[in-house]
Symmetry: C2
């Protein structure tokens, strides 16, 4: 096991120069320790100078603690002299006399978190302090042991973990569809952790169950279902939300599938575009439908599903005697940010009586914007919608909603009447015990952060965020569309915040458009990305798609990003890629 010191001494020293091999004198160490925050430095120095004669190994006897003289209740006075080296988890609440060390400990954790939050938004800090897996595994001992560690070590683990974490709130973090760190959302997530409960019954989550009811209804209103009627659930991510939609569509058409399984129903076929999310295939594999029964419909050059191809493939399936049961249109594809033509898809679904699902995991946020919601016109005709507030709306991970137009279907599809949870003789209105419509039993509370953010920002606040991100994407597009060294993956203004492009290093600019150039171009984005991570200056995603070799996919959902950050990204790509 690494000595506590080896992890400890290099904290806070940004250049990692802490020397774990040769600790030197207490004085020298104490100077290093003073770089630490959260009061640990002082405590450590006190230990080194004064208490060093009483090492933690010498037994459980704790040194007397200075009395706190503040009159706050609860006292979270940071001046309380708590020596974490002598404290263990067993000294915290619910231990007798555990209140004071608990409050001090949690406050010190909080100080570490607050410092991380502030640094996250500081452009002079790295987005990531990247280390290869084997480096991290060798540098620290992460193993789990029989014996407890003291709270000083626990606080250090918190520091280490954050030292190597990616700063997902950093203004120059563009790597995923979910970026940014919302302060109200964060506060709400802390509260959720503190409440530490489960969504299955009103009995144990009264407020959260009501807030889920209110929030899902509001989301359905925004989708455009009359009076916000219908059903829904917060599920653990968009992939599961899409799987729910598939399950419910199947159950609506063949309710006997619940008892009899797929053997009792004809071969079912789902349709989605070739640019759609891979979770549709994952869901089909899981549900016993099989990936071969997911037909990928062709897209136009902008990544939108071609309705005539959809209709052709539906007819083809029917001719073979198969049963089309679901069309999943995408509102905001993962790579291109494309919006399938929902009205045309709705017409086809209506004509052939097929369940229309809209995977708006990424694009749903645009419904909050009066300027951009037209891109989802027709979503009101869907039977179900996946909408992830943890993406474009900046809600902390995770927060994904599945909305269903027909009420009661989810319950009928999933309920198993577990009598130990959903007792029928409870003293309150049982319609608030929503757990039996879920595939999960225990379900994490994902609603509170969205609800609290919504109260804090208002619908107009989400709108402003969405509009700003789309404006930034257009700004990026306008800069690079005619700039030397860039090629757009598709023409035209982005519909979402996805901007897809190749950076062409000078050495490739004069080459003919042949296989060799493609091969060399395919290596450019990975190398630039690797360099970005090693410098830690910014992060953006890349991937190949179809016959297109590796290109950058820039997405902007980060509320911290500004025009200057977009400028920085371009300069950084050029700085890191010009020699390739």
């Amino acid at each position: 096991m690494a000595s506590p010191g080896s992890g400890f001494w290099s904290f806070g020293s940004e250049d990692g120069s802490g020397d774990s091999e040769n600790p030197g004198t207490a004085r020298a160490w104490c100077q290093v320790a003073q770089k630490f925050t959260g009061g640990i430095g002082n405590k450590l120095c006190a230990l080194l100078y004064g208490d060093a004669e009483k090492p933690a190994e010498s037994g459980g006897s704790q040194p007397p603690r200075a009395a706190c003289t503040c009159d706050q209740k609860p006292c979270s006075c940071s001046k309380v002299d708590v020596n974490y080296a002598f404290l263990h988890a067993t000294d915290l609440l619910p231990a007798c006399d555990g209140e004071r060390p608990t409050l001090a400990f949690l406050q010190d954790v909080m100080n570490i978190l607050l410092q991380y939050v502030v640094k996250s938004f500081d452009r002079s800090t790295k987005v990531i302090d990247f280390h290869y897996p084997n480096e991290l595994l060798q540098e620290y001992n992460w193993e789990l042991a029989d014996q407890p560690q003291n709270l000083e070590e626990i606080l250090m683990h918190c520091q280490t973990t954050l030292k190597y974490a990616i700063k997902t709130g950093h203004p120059r973090y563009f790597n995923q569809l979910s970026t940014g760190l919302d302060m109200v959302g964060l506060a709400a997530d802390w509260l959720t952790s503190t409440a530490n409960t489960n969504m299955f019954t009103y009995e144990i989550a009264p407020v959260f169950v009501l807030l889920e009811y209110v929030t899902l209804k509001k989301m359905r209103e925004i989708i455009g279902w009359p009076g916000g009627s219908g059903d829904g659930i917060f599920s653990p991510g968009g992939a599961i939300s899409n799987m729910y939609a598939m399950m419910i569509a199947r159950f609506k058409m063949f309710p006997e599938v619940k008892e009899k399984g797929m053997a009792a129903v004809p071969r079912l076929i789902a349709f989605t575009s070739e640019h759609s999310h891979f979770s549709l295939k994952k869901g089909a594999a899981a549900l016993g439908i099989g990936t071969d029964s997911v037909i990928l419909i062709k897209c136009d050059e902008r990544g939108k599903m071609i309705p005539s191809d959809l209709e052709r493939r539906i007819l083809e399936a029917k001719q073979k005697g198969f049963v089309p049961f679901l069309v999943s249109a995408t509102a905001g594809t993962t790579v291109y940010g494309a919006f399938d033509p929902l009205l045309a898809v709705a017409d086809i679904c209506k004509k052939y009586k097929i369940w229309m699902h809209v995977d708006a995991a990424w694009g749903g946020g645009l419904l909050m914007s009066r300027k951009h919601k037209w891109k989802l016109s027709g979503v009101e005709r869907a039977n179900s919608v996946t909408w992830n507030p943890h993406k474009m709306m900046g809600v902390p991970l995770q927060c994904s909603a599945l909305l269903v137009r027909e009420e009661g279907l989810m319950q009928n599809c999933n309920q198993m009447h577990a009598s130990y949870l959903f007792q029928q003789d409870k003293h309150y209105d049982l319609s608030y015990d929503t757990g039996d419509k879920a595939l999960q039993c225990g379900r994490h509370v994902d609603v509170f952060k969205l609800w609290l953010m919504w109260r804090a920002k208002g619908t107009t606040g989400f709108e402003a965020h969405v509009d700003k991100c789309l404006e930034l994407a257009e700004y990026l597009y306008n800069i690079i569309k005619n700039r030397e060294g860039y090629e757009m993956v598709f023409d035209g203004k982005p519909q979402h915040t996805n901007v897809c492009f190749w950076y062409i290093p000078p050495s490739l600019r004069t080459l003919e458009d042949n296989e060799e150039r493609m091969s060399r171009l395919s290596k450019v984005a990975p190398v630039i990305k690797a360099r970005m991570m090693e410098y830690g200056t910014t992060m953006v995603s890349y991937q190949p798609l179809g016959d297109k070799v590796n290109f950058f996919r820039m997405v902007i959902s980060n509320p911290a990003a500004t025009h200057q950050d977009i400028d920085f990204l371009i300069e950084e790509i050029e700085r890191l890629g010009q020699d390739l």
Copy 2:
């Protein structure tokens, strides 16, 4: 919309006597306001007396704030004079000059949370301040609006939400298998929220991915798989973990099911006991296997699966030409806490070449105890195990692991090779990009709280917790087994912490054991439970099971519970039930 006042003025006033109809003078209100914590009272009074002339509606101009003179960086000085009534989410980071209000706001949220934590462990506070759904809906306006609310209102919502929350860490909360509030786990969950990332790639969650690797390996070692080899994942709850097991077992036997669906395979049959968790049936319904294909094996009077009945039903299924593909034995049933005879089940699974799954969601924690782990003897022969540290090990919700003995199977079963996430030309070891073995795409970070708790408690700390809870259950059993007015649902010492019993009110004690008595007895537990919730003194679950009418199911996983709390529970049941 409710005026901010209507929610505001009744906070902190425990009796709810705040009068929202007639606000009266500033002086009177200020007295009420002084009951609030987190410094809100003072801020409010300042507003009422000094700043009342500048209502929030008058525009965005903020009053000048007093400069902070502390030299901490970041400054989280609670003395900073921040007037939340004039601040909105848009004033927080990443806003320009957002650092000071952000730190003050997050610190005040933290003060609210710390106060809640301290109260959670205080036996003189209620476990729940219960209100019926319609009451809560009428008393507050929870609706979502176009316009933002100020941060003062946001802090109030935090207070209100916690006021009506159930204190799941309260020493007298016994309602679910997951109880208690671990301080290190809580700190870790706050950190997880702050890191706000996703588990799919090493790229964006380097430390968490490594910790998941280390922790799952340790759990497999404890299960008894050689060298801790195998595979696994943290999934969103035990139901999903069980569903994974079913999927993987099916894939192992018929890999073509992934592409071809259930139509391409024979009828598959799963076996589990009649006392098993309902998620097995939920999973079978979802996976297209169908609930009819889940055969419920008979249990003995203690709730343990009878191996001879299992073998009989396997043979029966085979005779019909069906294919037995999975036996799910339960280690710790939900109601009785029974452990199926895993060695006998393993022998049968081996004989008939059937995948053996052990649902140890509830009982897995006993593997940490040298004294009790024998109850899971044979678990090392399983092909897969569900183990929820958020239950018996007291990890905050949620934290559920599925462990699989054969490496690579999960990946083959679930992978879809999404090129935008799992690029094959990344610069680090791709084996750490574990996202493609999940059914989810984005996956919440559930490992850190378990890992940090494990470091803080050591395996021996979990052992002590488990042993203590089992000792408390035995204490309860010993008290009530011969006490007047109690009948045990099954004989013998509990194997887990589940103690199942009827309380017989005096009026029923002399009745003959006939239908009328059963009918009256069935109403006793629901009434006592309803009264418990209305008084808010304690909470324990009840349910019917098979031909047994409503009985109490006491479970103890709460680290705060003591012998006195067990005594209290008995006294409270008698106090609330003696007139029935």
